[in-house]
């Protein structure tokens, strides 16, 4: 059996054929532990169905079934699976006959719920971290003293190809496992023992019909002096060799860039533009990309020097949730094309974050089980319940995993269940008391993984089956779904809120424009170009100055009188309506107003407005005259109290009296303006001024 436990030497082509006898299945499992650890004790033996191989790492169970399709469960008794990398892309000839690979399902067994990875794979790399504290379920399983974890690689390759594969993997092949012989009833897996000087472990497993017996070898193999190793090799240190094997599999390791929260309220953002290309060098502080938050377009900077290796979220990606991996950066000089693309696109930070926010129950304190429904969890299979106990537990949603069973052969009895129920009720009553209670119960339904991007918006869309297709045009009920930008959503929300909660009062008047038009013509002669709208802004501002009662906003509790007169002007952009502000308009000249209005409108169209340039304001003006609208009614922009809707100028004939009292017809330029005002703020809460 030791024949197929060949160990290749660092960096060199193996001279012997490493594997001649691959076992009954015809495939090899190639397993490499790339980092040492120490392990206190064996986890409890699992209950295994027949025909499964068990690969035991001292901290994780992998039950692998051959041939596909199969299910793999991993029971990890308190260890975190930190990282799962699939290496399906080892594209060479070595693996090509196996395209598709074997199907693996990897579960995070700490919670038992989180699906880490599923799908076809030729290689699977697992990085396992010890729990930060001793596992409550299995106190014998100690955290490793160095705090480090274990990386193991599992791969499948045919025996005929294994020599080439070994060469490609750079000699990181430590443990070769053969699958069990299914016919013989006992497939034997044996691993090469640890090299001297490296604390590591090999596992030997026997998988037998429905039974598993595991044996663990720990520490260095005695009786192999260092001099026994070949001397001619330039890299004789085993640790180095082990790591190299993994590095070759892993590709260039990268710095992950996640979607940042660029505003305090941001939950998701759109990537407007990448300012760097893949392969381009990036210095710390360089602008990487433009991200549209719920408020504005903000530039995201790089924190690291390096080369942008891979853009994971293309330009125009919408509703990218916070913490999603958006790009990968490698160090300068490294091959950016070979970058390792992590399997968990969501990034490991966000997936850890919700876990981290749930404080573990304080030791000694009353255990308040989460009110979740019972699920058959892989981590709980070993608790055997009596039928009556099961009934009680399920009815009350109790979790028996932390309780001791008093029945024969570890059966959890009805008495145990009743005791647990009593305990829980007691802890509930103590919780109701206003005294200090430890760690309030956390809802267990905290979404662990980032939700699908589309369902989580604050403004849910109706669930109508989407997607029309060309060729079906004209069929009743078809439509095209247009993705809504954040800005549009905010606008829709705000306007609905305004129209439904603010009592709008309307007043319309026609204004004569002749004097303004005349003045404008004269100014144009002096090469001063101002629009009619600029005059309207100025006139409004001056009027507000005379009537400070109007210069108020509603802050939810009462009106607030504003000191400065800031006029918001509505600008239609591709993204939607936005209202940049002309500050202190009453104090500005018409020309100045014209200049700032022009600048702001341009910025708004480019999406470059800063938050302070569109937030606040005391009075809005919306002018649709340039589109030929003769008059309209606008919706108040809360918390402001008024909005003025301005139509186009139109010529009208009017009878006027000249100096001698003769009536005559004269043409006038008239403009319809409608003021929408907040009835409540302006009329029912009159301000008193000293």
């Amino acid at each position: 059996m030791a024949d197929w436990c060949h160990l290749s030497q660092g960096g060199h082509m193996p001279t012997q054929q490493p594997v001649s006898n691959g076992g009954g299945g015809g495939f090899l499992w190639w397993i490499s532990l790339t980092k040492g650890y120490s392990c206190g004790a064996l986890p409890p033996a699992p209950h295994l169905p027949s025909g499964f191989i068990l690969i035991f790492f001292g901290l994780a169970w992998l039950i692998c079934c051959l041939p596909a399709p199969c299910t793999h469960h991993m029971r990890c008794t308190g260890w975190h699976v930190l990282h799962v990398t699939t290496v399906t892309q080892i594209q060479d000839e070595v693996f090509s006959p196996l395209s598709g690979g074997v199907r693996l399902l990897v579960l995070d067994c700490r919670g038992g719920r989180r699906l880490l990875w599923r799908g076809p794979a030729l290689c699977l790399e697992l990085e396992l971290m010890p729990p930060p504290v001793t596992c409550p379920q299995n106190p014998a399983l100690l955290p490793s003293p160095g705090g480090g974890g274990v990386t193991c690689v599992i791969s499948r390759l045919p025996p005929s190809r294994s020599a080439a594969a070994c060469a490609m993997l750079g000699g990181g092949r430590d443990h070769l496992f053969a699958p069990p012989r299914r016919r013989g009833g006992a497939g034997v897996l044996q691993a090469r023992r640890g090299q001297p000087g490296v604390r590591k472990m090999a596992a030997s497993c026997w998988a037998r019909r429905g039974r598993a017996l595991c044996r663990l070898f720990l520490g260095p193999r005695p009786g192999l002096p260092p001099s026994a190793r070949p001397r001619s090799l330039p890299l004789p240190l085993p640790g180095w060799r082990l790591l190299r094997g993994a590095a070759a599999l892993r590709g260039t390791s990268a710095v992950k860039i996640f979607m940042p929260a660029l505003s305090p309220t941001m939950e998701e953002g759109n990537i407007v533009k990448w300012l760097k290309k893949e392969g381009e060098a990036v210095n710390a502080g360089d602008a990487l990309c433009e991200i549209e938050t719920d408020k504005a377009v903000v530039t995201m900077e790089s924190n690291d020097d390096g080369v942008l290796a891979k853009i994971m979220m293309e330009e125009g990606s919408k509703n990218v949730r916070l913490g999603t991996l958006i790009a990968l950066l490698v160090e300068e000089g490294q091959d950016w094309k070979q970058v390792e693309i992590p399997a968990d696109i969501g990034g490991d930070l966000p997936s850890q974050a919700p876990q981290a926010s749930v404080p573990p129950p304080t030791p000694g304190g009353p255990v308040i089980p989460a009110p979740s429904k019972m699920e058959p969890l892989p981590g709980k299979l070993q608790i055997r319940l009596s039928p009556a106990a099961r009934n009680i537990l399920e009815t009350h949603g109790l979790d028996p995993s932390n309780e001791t069973s008093s029945g024969p052969r570890g059966i959890f009895t009805k008495e145990d269940a009743l005791r647990l129920l009593q305990q829980q009720q007691k802890s509930k009553t103590t919780e109701l008391k206003p005294m200090v209670s430890p760690a309030s119960p956390q809802p267990s339904a905290v979404p662990l993984a980032p939700q699908a991007a589309t369902v989580s918006s604050a403004y849910p869309r109706p669930a109508i089956p989407p997607i029309p297709t060309a060729g079906h045009l004209g069929v009743p009920g078809t439509f095209t779904e247009v993705p809504a930008s954040n800005i549009r959503r905010v606008i829709a929300k705000r306007l609905t809120e305004s129209k439904t909660t603010v009592p709008h009062a309307y007043a319309t008047a026609d204004c004569e424009l002749d004097a303004i038009l005349k003045l404008r013509k004269e100014l144009a002669k002096d090469n001063i170009k101002v629009s009619v709208n600029d005059f309207i802004i100025k006139a409004t501002a001056v009027t507000i100055k005379q009537m400070p009662d109007v210069n108020v906003t509603w802050d939810g509790e009462g009106p607030r009188q504003l000191q400065s007169i800031d006029i918001s002007i509505a600008v239609a952009t591709d993204r939607g309506l936005i209202t940049p502000i002309i500050r202190d308009a009453a104090a500005k000249g018409v020309q100045e107003i014209a200049a700032s209005a022009k600048a702001l409108a341009k910025k708004a169209r480019d999406g470059k407005l800063l938050p302070e340039e569109y937030q606040g304001g005391s009075f809005s003006i919306s002018n649709l005259g340039m589109f030929g609208i003769s008059g309209f009614i606008a919706v108040i922009n809360p918390p402001q109290a008024c909005i003025l809707a301005v139509g186009r100028a139109r010529p009208e004939l009017k009878i006027v009296e000249d100096e001698e009292g003769n009536e005559k017809l004269q043409q006038h330029q008239l403009m319809t303006m409608t003021l929408s005002s907040d009835e409540f703020t302006l009329l029912h809460c009159p301000l008193s001024f000293p």
Binding site: P236, W240, F258, G285, V298, T299, L322, Q352, P438
Partner: protein
């Protein structure tokens, strides 16, 4: 493993020549052939920028000696602070760190240079940009990051956050602008009162330098000849206002008027170190307080809500980064004078990155402090008493 072995080997090989001729294993020979640590110079002398002086006849020296060990230590410390701050930035943007957070990246030379020039028994107090000093005063990175994320393992048990970290002889980040300056003078008074040969380093920013209490403190410190080094870390912007727009005189080292002052290049670690040594000597000899202005730069915005480019251009930041980055400056000096190799420094970078990763892992998985902790640590030596909760029916027990 390999690195440790290499380091051990290099130490052996730097020793007496006998060891070199002795039986060195084949393994070691292979290693030595590829890495020749023994060739490095053990120290080098550098010219540093002359400080501007105020009411001083003589200033700090214009040359400084840097040994290889010191250089590597400084490099690692600065790199750790830089990476820690970048990690904090990342965690903040993941919404794992919340609330106030002021980052120190760009100013590393100040805290590392200062710490190199004073004794561990000397005292230090600073404002809310405190992460760097917390680290140089001996708090591990994991505790700082855990404090930022508000976890139990934080250096203030998860209850202080970014602005309130403390260590031995380090009186913390202080949240109120400029309020730490009078406190610093008080610490210096204690040093004088107890007759110890200790000094207090009191730091504040260019924004706080315009505070009234700072001038009151100058007066008393000078009057009582307190052993206090007042240090103004001038990073050119107080929040969003450049110093030119905020201060009538930007010569912060002259602001003490009757207190002697130094203006120091705060981007050069050696310059900071030599100037601080000089200032500490001044204080210890009983001449009273001294003022130092460290001209430095912060790469991040004032706090996390400041993108940092609305009052200064991106080009300005990039120019400082490329021309006078404190870490790059030290790196170039060490490499050009054969104090260290690029690969060696790169290895340190990798090591630091790993340490930060692990610290971040700790900071995100450590549990939050339990609710009972809320009322503990109010006084240091009082018997337990009841603390009123959010309403009068909720009472907590205080504990020491």
């Amino acid at each position: 493993m390999r690195k440790m072995l290499l380091a051990a080997l290099s130490r052996v090989l730097q020793g007496p020549a006998a060891a070199r001729t002795g039986a060195v294993s084949e393994v070691a020979q292979v290693v030595v052939a590829s890495r020749t640590y023994a060739d490095f110079a053990s120290e080098a002398t550098f010219e540093i920028k002359k400080c501007d002086l105020h009411r001083l006849e003589e200033g700090p020296p214009v040359t400084a000696v840097l040994t290889r060990e010191e250089g590597l230590h400084y490099y690692k410390t600065m790199q750790t602070i830089r990476r820690m701050e970048l990690k904090a930035d990342q965690l903040y943007k993941q919404k794992i760190i919340r609330g106030f957070c002021h980052l120190y990246d760009g100013q590393e030379a100040c805290c590392v240079g200062l710490e190199a020039a004073i004794n561990p028994t000397d005292h230090l107090i600073t404002a809310y940009r405190a992460h760097g000093y917390t680290f140089t005063r001996g708090t591990p990175v994991r505790e700082i990051l855990a404090e930022l994320t508000g976890r139990k393992g934080g250096c203030a048990k998860g209850k202080g956050g970014s602005m309130h970290m403390y260590a031995k002889n380090f009186y913390g980040g202080n949240g109120i602008v400029g309020a730490q300056v009078p406190l610093g003078a008080g610490i210096a008074l204690a040093c004088k009162y107890f007759g110890k040969d200790e000094i207090c380093v009191t730091l504040y920013g260019d924004g706080a330098a315009n505070q009234g209490q700072v001038f009151e403190t100058y007066n008393m410190a000078a009057l009582w000849k307190l052993p206090c080094i007042f240090i103004c870390e001038n990073n050119r912007y107080g929040m969003g206002t450049s110093v030119e727009r905020a201060a009538a005189s930007t010569d912060y080292y002259k602001r003490g008027d009757y207190i002697p002052g130094l203006r120091v290049d705060g981007m050069d670690l050696l310059c900071v170190r030599e100037a601080t040594k000089f200032a500490a000597e001044h204080c210890r000899s009983g001449k009273g307080p001294i003022l130092m202005e460290l001209q430095t730069y912060r790469y991040h915005g004032h706090s996390m809500s400041d993108p940092g480019i609305s009052y200064r251009t991106r080009e300005e930041i990039q120019e400082v980064r490329s021309k006078s980055d404190p870490i790059t400056l030290l790196k170039d000096r060490m490499v050009n004078n054969n104090l260290a190799s690029v690969e060696e420094l790169k290895e340190i970078d990798v090591e630091v990155r790993k340490e930060i990763e692990e610290a971040a892992q700790f900071a995100t998985t450590d549990p939050e402090p339990p609710l009972e902790e809320l009322s503990s640590h109010i006084y240091c030596n009082e018997p337990p008493f009841e603390v009123r909760g959010p309403n009068q029916w909720i009472r907590y027990k205080s504990a020491c």
